[in-house]
Amino acid sequence: DAGVTQSPTHLIKTRGQQVTLRCSPKSGHDTVSWYQQARGQGPQFIFQYYEEEERQRGNFPDRFSGHQFPNYSSELNVNALLLGDSALYLCASSEVATLGETQYFGPGTRLLVL
């Protein structure tokens, strides 16, 4: 049973560029949440997708957008990258029936913006 997978593992971009991160949820899961984790901080909720729609959003600007596909996989897009966007981006999956309970996290994508 495959767990949550994320790609790529590491990424280096320059300011102003755009980036797309990908996530495949754990088998049987239909809900995907994205988090940003700066060094030394806890994960910050970006948004959550269910049924291909953004269901809830954290305090992040519109430069952060996402998408969920019919197979429940998801993408996180960040436009006009800033130095402050450098962080570990985590994807977590869960079942809508147990929303707010256990989430399964992927290994993360480490983004460095130069």
Partner: protein, 111 residues
């Protein structure tokens, strides 16, 4: 914003000792969860305690919840070097149960 705040932010103990981490939260919760993170990688769910529970055990882990004080504690007994990690408390909120994490406690277990 952070829902939970862990205390202490860093903890260093000898192998075999017990480690206690505390978490305070601000709003009413349905449940509180604890996660572990090794070296900046993905988080691993450890234990969930519901708002109507006061204590829960899982192996060497013991979690308590005091809803009147809006606080929780995680006790790791007989610690091992492999327990070295960051530990986060988290709680759901909002209509779609957005999970909000604290800032974490960085635990170092010295062999």
């Amino acid at each position: 914003s952070q829902q939970g705040e862990e205390d202490p932010q860093a903890l260093s103990i000898q192998e075999g000792e017990n480690a206690t981490m505390n978490c305070s939260y601000k709003t009413s919760i349905n449940n509180l969860q604890w996660y572990r993170q090794n070296s900046g990688r993905g988080l691993v769910h450890l234990i969930l305690i519901r708002s109507n529970e006061r204590e829960k055990h899982s192996g060497r882990l013991r979690v308590t919840l005091d809803t009147s004080k809006k606080s929780s504690s995680l006790l790791i007994t007989a610690s091992r070097a492999a327990d070295t990690a960051s530990y986060f408390c988290a709680s759901p909120s909002g209509g779609y149960q957005k999970v909000t994490f604290g800032i974490g406690t960085k635990l170092q277990v010295i062999p």
